[in-house]
Assembly symmetry: C2
């Protein structure tokens, strides 16, 4: 949700002007029009495009662009040929940071207010790390990045992702993410970074990223399933992240698929995560491919190793069964598969589609299951988007 | 969603006046204040209560009430003792109809615009009936009801519930509700009734009813599970019904609990419905209690028949497992159990709570599971509420 500050009385001319400015800024921040985007490249718009997308009169757009340029939030660049000047958010409008913590990695990025990443870096973290240690590393990575990146200006907000259910900024499951259990992550991170931090579950961030910039673009409702060492989902409803009453919606990884199945780290048995996570698939193949990485296993499957193919197929069938619960209950118009396992592509997704057809009601059995466009970067992109969308742009009148 | 027609320009005095009138009408239609309702009885309000609930000045409320009384939409009744005059929607503001079709029954009702039922009737229907037959019966029941009910005025809108997934007014599953498959129910019903008809899944209507008038009142998000001969759910998110992209969200009855479980009428195996429907529980007990009704079985369980208790307990454990998927994915703040099986009370719900704790993530394992307040009438009440909420009140200026 975009936040607009309008202190003037409702219905006044000054409110209308502010609202129209924010409309133009929102379009520039979204990076492109909702709907067909063929004639819009990157985050650049012509005045004619802005008028079409906002529905404002060309003369109004022209005035607003002049005001926004004067305030330093927007910059223009002379166009070539028939195309008018390119209009975009100015770098000086601000930059934001994104941090994505995993069980065994941290990734940080800085981006502009359209959610475009300007620089990013990923480093390993020890499994079961303490949260303080992880925050310290992220903070130093971000400091190094901003000092190298010139002229960056100060970071305005940070979006931060965690691979666990998060309620009111606190990790709500000791079993899922032990080093962070009970920690008020926002408070701890704001102490380290010294600027406002917005905390989200990492699958939620992936859902946001795929909805704004990836394959779920244009879908009013979508579900993003992140499959790496853990399995979780983020849900978009009416174009916004859906959190549920306690903030923990989307925990697909711990749907029980079989009461008598393998024990799961959450304390239950036969959870989807216990069938479809990268660790599970690698463990199935440990006899044939000891010490293999996921990419080794994917290579083997692609070059004809039928056991590797079967391990991925079984993971996919279970995944499809879990997705059947999602589409029966939530009925999204698309399901996106992300995380490390998305690299398996159709080796995983074909059987996921079969599992879905087998277990979903006929009315929703053909819901598309697509591979993430953003891959392992989805949560990091989502963290930057979250920070960008939470940054309020105030127009200083020149 | 309430629909307000405001044709005047935004920000004009006339728009403000209309908006304030609608605010007062909305409160009167809702039947009581959102939040604590101790001092509000039935659909009656005092002027002081209206001022408090709407946030409008007492003098403004007084003017609006005078206008609304003059237009015939609102009536007042002199109060007794310290309490001021009672203000309520006038009967002349309009009445609406509700129709609830089941596999083997039809129920119809008329109600006022607060969603209060004024008269209701239920009749049996043959399983597998043709939709034309069912509509004909409902239509004649409704005609008889309005002719007896005097002075009723014409019915403005009808809400209509069906026990099947409904997309754009069409039943989307031949397996679930054969006599209605592919029928545009709205078009067919409007032909029979001659007034606007709004079609909904029956569990959705139950969810609406429990949210507006039952145990889910005051919860921003809730899930209503209807367990009768079929099992379905309705989902309330941000105080409104959630439909999903194709209109079929909430199909909890066809979550697969066990791949190798009993065949389900939907064509899958081991669905929740195949464990927890009334038919399943009665079939389990057919050896000991041949030809028993659900109430016979419930009596037996209450008077110490341990097999009947066990049959209900097993249904409850499976129900809890299905609910675990719901709370993991959607994280509502309450789950309400309705339909015929809700009459089992704690004989079913205690084991449902155990099943939930066993299969849900710890952060949501204690989500309350409550029995419906409205019982088998929930969908019918929801049908009347749907019709009432879709009826637009236009204030004719006297």
């Amino acid at each position: 949700m975009r936040h607009h500050r309008t202190d003037a009385a409702p219905g006044s001319t000054s409110t209308l002007r502010t609202a129209n400015q924010q409309r133009v800024l929102d379009v520039l921040r979204s990076g492109s029009a909702p709907g067909p985007t063929a004639d819009l490249t990157g985050g650049d718009f012509t005045q004619a495009e802005l008028a079409r997308v906002t529905g404002l009169a060309p003369a109004t757009v022209s005035n607003i662009v002049r005001e926004l340029v004067a305030s330093g939030l927007v910059e223009t660049e002379a166009g070539s040929g028939r195309r008018g000047s390119a209009i975009r958010l100015a770098r000086a409008a601000g930059i934001v940071g994104g941090v994505d913590f995993g069980h065994s990695h941290v990734a940080v990025a800085i981006g502009d207010l359209t959610g475009r990443l300007l620089a990013e870096e990923r480093q390993p973290l020890e499994q079961g790390h303490a949260h303080i240690e992880a925050l310290r590393l992220a903070s130093s990575m971000l400091d190094a990045m901003t000092s190298k990146f010139d002229p960056a200006g100060p970071i305005r907000h940070i979006g931060l992702g965690l691979p666990a259910p998060v309620t009111n900024d606190v990790v709500r499951s000791s079993a899922i993410f032990p080093g962070w259990d009970g920690v008020n992550t926002r408070a701890a991170a704001e102490e380290h970074f010294g600027i406002p931090v917005h905390v989200e579950n990492d699958a939620n961030l992936g859902a946001l990223a795929e909805h704004r910039q990836g394959v779920a673009r244009g879908h009013d409702s979508s579900v993003f399933v992140k499959i790496s060492s853990g399995v979780g989902a983020g849900i978009i409803i009416h174009n916004e992240l859906f959190h549920g009453s306690g903030g923990t919606a989307g925990e697909i990884g711990h749907l029980t698929l079989d009461d008598a199945g393998p024990l799961c780290r959450c304390g239950s048995r036969g959870c989807l995560e216990a069938y479809a996570s990268t660790g599970t698939v690698l463990a199935m193949m440990a006899g044939q491919l000891p010490d293999a990485t996921l990419d080794d296993l994917l290579d083997a499957a692609r070059t004809g190793n039928v056991s590797a193919q079967r391990a991925l197929e079984d993971a996919g069938l279970h995944l499809g069964k879990g997705i059947a619960s999602v589409v029966n209950l939530i009925n999204p118009s698309v399901v996106v598969i992300g995380g490390d396992m998305a690299r398996a592509g159709d080796l995983l997704l074909e059987s996921a589609r079969i599992g879905l057809r087998r277990h979903a009601l006929d009315s929703v059995a053909l819901t598309p299951i697509l591979a993430s466009e953003l891959g392992e970067r989805a949560s990091l992109v989502g963290a930057v988007l979250l920070a960008a969308e939470r940054t309020v742009l105030v127009v200083e009148h020149a």
